[in-house]
């Protein structure tokens, strides 16, 4: 379709300037010169830096991606390790707590038992001492009473001549005793 139009235009043309298909050699020469100069300058000024930059960037991206992948794997590994360590530490601390709790429990029981025993011993000792003191005091009293009785008897005998008087003495003596 396009060529039809072109041909129609060509057929319609053909004035003083010549047809559309007339080739101007000067234009061809300029095209060659322009294109080759453009190619040479662009090769140096543009294509080399641009293409190397693109290649470099592509390799950079590839490298960084690989590095990122590696870093991610490493981080994952470290995380897993940390989690394992944490779990282990938790278990350990739990064990320690359990142990110390059990130890405290036994210690408590032992202390209570010991103190109970001690208290009982103190009470026993104290009651024993009291018994002993009571016994000695009783013995002493017994001795004193006997002595008093003897001395009373002695006095009675000494003053037996006077029954009245002896009776008074005994009363008086007894009074003294009770007072004591």
């Amino acid at each position: 379709m396009l060529t039809q139009i072109t041909l129609a235009v060509i057929a319609a043309g053909g004035g003083e300037n010549g047809g559309l298909l007339d080739v101007n050699p000067g234009l061809m020469i300029w095209t060659v010169i322009t294109f080759i100069i453009l190619l040479l300058i662009l090769k140096k000024v543009a294509w080399k830096p641009i293409l190397t930059a693109l290649d470099k960037r592509e390799s950079d991206i590839r490298e960084s991606l690989a590095q990122a992948e590696k870093a991610r794997d490493e981080a994952k590994k470290i995380l897993e390790e940390n989690q394992a360590n944490l779990a282990k530490a938790e278990e350990e601390s739990k064990k320690i707590i359990d142990q110390s709790r059990a130890y405290a429990e036994t210690l408590k029981e032992q202390l209570i038992k010991e103190s109970k025993e001690q208290a009982k011993k103190i009470v026993d000792d104290a009651s024993l001492e009291i018994q002993r003191k009571k016994d000695t005091a009783f013995e002493e009293l017994k001795g004193q009473i006997a002595e008093i009785a003897v001395s009373a008897a002695e006095k009675i005998i000494r003053e037996s001549l006077d029954a009245q008087k002896s009776k008074q003495v005994v009363d008086k003596y007894l009074n003294d005793v009770t007072k004591n």
Partner: protein
């Protein structure tokens, strides 16, 4: 090819051309053809001074030469700025960002698939070809400018350069005799050789010929159609045809933007493909 979807417009144009055959359509030719003067908007014409002929050739720069230089300068400037961006950092910014897309497109979609591993040595040539044609095509879309890629002399020269690159690439990779021996497919009976050799040699030349004609015809067609559509208003002698003409002209203009890109791509793609065929003859 891109314009084939618009058969109605083309019919209208060919009708126009038929009715206005003769000297009436000279103004269309005047617009699309080369000339010795440059038209400036609202200022008139600048006449290019005549140079003395060199070796019998008239080398006076014409309108198309001037616009070719302008395109070459713009390509150079743009890509220099792009390259400067990469010198400071590998991160593309602004202009570089846009042109990087095109450069990578030429590299990854044109050069590498057609040339294989040998693409690196042809890449500067293909990139230059692509951007030169691209800028030329787009430059032609600006009002008051000229499309030097719609000149058969320019497209033929570009095709000749492509042809030389194809032959050089083939000879460099396969050796001089190896390349020309490889042109004829293997396993052909001896008695067919007298037929096959001329056919293959003819095939060598039809490829660049097709390249030249394709670019020339595609670039000239859009402009001609737009001019014809606008001319329709004057041929009909009525203003009521103007909205239709302008609407179609805008449509063709938009189509031309597409064609400008596609033709630069096709020229580069086919050149790359032919170089690839010359380099890898076994396929």
């Amino acid at each position: 090819m891109a314009a084939s979807g618009n058969i109605d417009t083309l019919k209208a144009v060919s009708d126009t051309l038929k009715t206005s055959s003769g000297s009436d359509s000279d103004w269309i030719l005047h617009h699309v053809m080369d000339g010795k003067e440059i038209e400036l908007p609202f200022l008139g014409y600048i006449h290019i001074p005549q140079l003395p002929p060199v070796f019998g050739f008239d080398i006076t720069p014409t309108k198309h030469v001037i616009f070719m230089w302008l395109a070459a300068f713009l390509v150079l400037l743009t890509l220099y700025l792009v390259a400067r961006n990469y010198k400071t950092s590998l991160i593309p910014r602004r202009l570089a960002n846009f042109f990087e897309v095109l450069i990578i497109f030429v590299r990854d979609e044109i050069a590498e698939p057609t040339l294989g591993k040998a693409y690196k040595s042809f890449l500067p040539f293909l990139l230059t070809l692509f951007f030169f044609i691209l800028f030329g095509n787009f430059l032609g879309l600006i009002p008051f400018s000229a499309t030097f890629t719609s000149n058969i002399a320019v497209t033929a020269t570009l095709a000749i350069i492509a042809f030389l690159m194809i032959q050089l690439g083939g000879i460099r990779h396969n050796g001089f005799f190896g390349y020309f021996k490889g042109l004829v497919p293997h396993g052909i009976p001896m008695w067919l050789l007298p037929l096959m050799i001329p056919v293959e040699i003819l095939g060598l030349f039809t490829k660049p010929f097709a390249l030249a004609i394709r670019l020339f015809a595609n670039m000239i067609a859009g402009h001609t159609v737009i001019l014809a559509l606008i001319g329709l208003i004057f041929f009909m002698g009525t203003i009521f045809i103007a909205p239709v003409s302008v609407a179609f002209a805008v449509f063709i203009y938009l189509l031309e933007i597409l064609v400008a890109l596609i033709q630069a791509y096709i020229f580069t793609m086919l050149t790359s493909l032919f170089i690839g065929m010359a380099v890898h003859q076994e396929h």
